[in-house]
Symmetry: C2
Subunit: 405 residues, 2 copies
C-alpha cells in the first residue's frame, strides 16, 4: 500500500511537471493557443531598456525621422494574400506595432512554401491566415487581428471583403487606412482594384515575377494615380529569355531574398505614408539580376474602363480646383512621363488577331520597365462583363508576340 501510494505520488508529480512544461512550451510560441510571454503594453514608451519592445522604434522620434511614432497604433491595414510577400509584410507591420491587421487568404501552408520567410514546417496543413495570426499574436499581443480564410474573388466573399475594408478600421464602422495587395494573380488584383475604386480606398500593390528575380510595389490613390485598370500592370524587365515567362501549369520559382526585399520596400512605403516621413514612392521596381530600381509615377487614364475610377478622377479634379495646393504627398517629386500619352493603340505592334484582346492604352514607360500584358478595351472587343476573366490568359501569348516583333 505504501508502495502504491508512493507510486501515485510519483506519477502525480510527473503529471504536474509535464503540465507545467507543456504550458511553458505553449506560452512560448509553440503550436498552442498561449498569448505569448510578454504582457500587453498600454502605452508605447521611449524608455531605453532591454525589456521595451518599442525603444528602437520610438528612437525614430529622437533621431528626427518621425514626428509622432505612437500614431502607428491608430491605423488599421488590410493585407490581402499571406504568402511570400504578404506574410513578411504582416510580420513587419506587427513588429512595428500597427493598431490592427486584417488578413485575407484562402490557402493552406505547405512544405513547398518553406523557401520563403515566415511559415515553419510544423504549420504545414494549417490555413495561412490562422497560422499567421497565431505567430503574429505571439510576437506582438498589442496588435488587433481579424482574419478571413476565403477567396476574395467570389461574389459573396467580394461583398464581405468590401464590407470589411470599409468598416473594419480600428474603430468598427470606419474604413481601414490602407489595403495592401500581396496576391499572386491577376484576378485577385483586379478584385482589390475594383473594390478600392468603388470605395475611394487608397491601396498599394506588390508583385514578384515568376522567375523570382524581379518585383515591384505601386501606390494607387483612386482618382489621383493610375489604377490597375487604367494601365496594364508593369514589370521590371529582367533581360532574360522568353522561355522564363509564365506558362500555364509550370511551377513558378521564388526566392526568400526577392520576396523579403519587396515586402521591406512595401512596408517602408506604408510607414512613410502613414507616419508622414520621406518620399512615398508611386512605383518602385526591383531587378535583382542587375540591382536596378526604376521609379516612376503614373497619372490615371481618363478613359479607364472602370467607371468608379473615372468618377474618382472627377472628384479629385474638383477637389484640386477648389484647393489647388492640397496634395496628399507634399514632399513627393513627380517624375512623370508626358502627361497625356494615353490611348496609344497597339495596332502597329500586335497582329490583328490579338487586337481584340489587347487594345487598351499603353503608357510611355521609363527604361527598364515593360508591360506585363495589356488590358482588353471593352468597346473594341465588344465585351461588357468584368475585365477580370477576359484578359487573364493573354500574358504569355502577348509577351511572346511582343518579344518576337
Amino acid at each position: 500500500m505504501a508502495a502504491s501510494a508512493k507510486r501515485v505520488e510519483q506519477l502525480q508529480r510527473r503529471v504536474q511537471e509535464l503540465e507545467e512544461e507543456l504550458a511553458r512550451e505553449r506560452g512560448g510560441g509553440g503550436q498552442g493557443q498561449g498569448q505569448g510571454q510578454r504582457a500587453r503594453i498600454e502605452q508605447m514608451s521611449p524608455e531605453v531598456t532591454d525589456s521595451n519592445p518599442y525603444s528602437r522604434l520610438m528612437a525614430l522620434k529622437r533621431m528626427g525621422i518621425v514626428k509622432d511614432y505612437e500614431k502607428i497604433r491608430s491605423f488599421a491595414v488590410a493585407v490581402v494574400g499571406v504568402g511570400g510577400v504578404g506574410s513578411v509584410t504582416a510580420e513587419m507591420l506587427t513588429r512595428c506595432g500597427i493598431g490592427k491587421l486584417l488578413l485575407f487568404d484562402y490557402d493552406k501552408v505547405e512544405l513547398a512554401n518553406m523557401n520563403r520567410l515566415f511559415f515553419q514546417p510544423h504549420q504545414a496543413g494549417l490555413s495561412k491566415v490562422q497560422a499567421a495570426e497565431h505567430t503574429l499574436r505571439n510576437i506582438n499581443p498589442d496588435v488587433q487581428f481579424e482574419v478571413h480564410n476565403y477567396n476574395i474573388t467570389t461574389v459573396n466573399n467580394f461583398q464581405h471583403f468590401m464590407d470589411r475594408i470599409s468598416k473594419g478600421g480600428l474603430e468598427e464602422g470606419k474604413p481601414v487606412d490602407l489595403v495592401l495587395s500581396c496576391v499572386d494573380n491577376f484576378e485577385a488584383r483586379m478584385a482589390i482594384n475594383t473594390a478600392c475604386n468603388e470605395l475611394g480606398q487608397i491601396w498599394m500593390e506588390s508583385g514578384v515575377s515568376e522567375n523570382a528575380v524581379s518585383g515591384h510595389i505601386q501606390l494607387v490613390i483612386p482618382g489621383e494615380s493610375a489604377c490597375f485598370a487604367c494601365a496594364p500592370p508593369l514589370v521590371v524587365a529582367a533581360n532574360i529569355d522568353e522561355k522564363t515567362l509564365k506558362r500555364e501549369g509550370v511551377c513558378a520559382a521564388s526566392l526568400p531574398t526577392t520576396m523579403g526585399v519587396v515586402a521591406g520596400l512595401l512596408v517602408q512605403n506604408v510607414l512613410k505614408y502613414l507616419l508622414n516621413f520621406g518620399t512615398v514612392s508611386f512605383y518602385l521596381g526591383y531587378n535583382a539580376m542587375q540591382d536596378f530600381f526604376p521609379a516612376m509615377t503614373m497619372k490615371p487614364n481618363p478613359q479607364c474602363s472602370d467607371r468608379n475610377c473615372r468618377k474618382q478622377q472627377e472628384e479629385f479634379e474638383k477637389k484640386e480646383a477648389a484647393n489647388p495646393k492640397q496634395e496628399v504627398f507634399e514632399q513627393h517629386e513627380e517624375i512623370v512621363h508626358e502627361d497625356n500619352d494615353w490611348g496609344i493603340e497597339l495596332v502597329s505592334e500586335i497582329s490583328e488577331e490579338e487586337l481584340k484582346t489587347a487594345s487598351g492604352p499603353v503608357p510611355d514607360l521609363p527604361e527598364g520597365i515593360t508591360l506585363a500584358y495589356t488590358i482588353p478595351n471593352k468597346e473594341e472587343s465588344g465585351v461588357d462583363g468584368e475585365t477580370v476573366q477576359e484578359s487573364e490568359e493573354s500574358l504569355e501569348e502577348l509577351m511572346a508576340k511582343m518579344k518576337s516583333i
Copy 2:
C-alpha cells in the same frame, strides 16, 4: 487497492498523454530540441508537389536563371552578427538550402529586439546563436550548423574565429566559401577585415544607419576590391539633420523594413556570387527616405594600412598579369570612378586639428554616398598599432565637422 491500482493506471495514462502532447509540441517548432516535423532530404528534387520544400528553388533552373541550383548544398557561409540583419540573412540562406552555416554572436535575445524580424518574445534571455540555431534547424534540418557564442574581437576569440573560417568549410579543414559581416560596430568589422585580408577570404559587409533609414552592402575580394581599411566605410546620405548622427550612449533606431531589405539584398548578392547568375554588386546602398539605391565599385588602395591587403593586391596583380582575362566576375560591369584617385588628403576640407586623426585617402564618390568617417593615416599620425582603436571614436566628430564646412 483496486482503487489505488486504478488511480495509478489513470495517472500513467495521463503521463503518456502529456508526454505525447509535449513531443508533438516540441517536434512542431516549440522551444524544445525536436528536429522538426520534416525528415531530412538526401537529394534536392525539382518535383512540383506541395510537400517538396525545394520545388520553387529548383524551378530557377527551369526558368533559366540558375544552371545548377543543387550546388548551393556544397557551400559553407559564416555569418558574423546574428542581429536584425544577420538573423534574417541566416534564415534566408537556411531556407535556400545552404550546405553549412557558421554563426558568431555573443549577445542575448532581448524584448528590445522585437522590432526586427526573426526572434520571438519567448526567446528573450537565450543567446542569439543558440536561439537562432534552434529555429533554423527546425526550418531546414538539411543545413549543418556550427554556432559560436563569443565576441570575435578579443585576442583568443579572434584566433579561434580565424581558425574556423579557414577550416570550418563544408569539409572540415577547408575554408568557408564566404564570410558575411552583419555586425553593428566598427571594431568587429575591422576584425573581420583583418582576418579576411590575412586569409585571402572573400567576404561581404552590410550595415544599417543609426537612424534606421539607410543601409548598404559591400563585396570585398582581398587584393581586387577595396578592403575596409583601404577606404573609409561609405554611407548613403539620407539628407537628414546632423542631430540624427550617432551619439555615444544614445539608443539607435531600427526598423524591420530597412533591415529586411538590407538582408535581402545581401543574400541575393550571395546567391548571385555562389550560384553564378546576374551581376554581383560591389557596393549597393539603400536610402529609404528617397528610395534611392547608389551603386559603385572601388579598387583597393595601394597605400592601404593593412599589410595583408597590400600583399593580396600584389598577388592579384601577378595573377592578372599571368592571365589577364581571368576575372572573378566575368559578367560584372565595372562602374568605377577614376582609377587612381586615392591619396586625396582632407586638408582643404577638415581643420588642422583633425588632420592627425583623419588624413587617410578618400575615394571619389558618386552622388548620394558619403563617408561615414575617415581612417587614421598611421605614418602621419605616428601611430603604429592596429587601426581599430584609434579611429573608432572619430565618427561623430568628423561627421559634424564635415557637415559644418
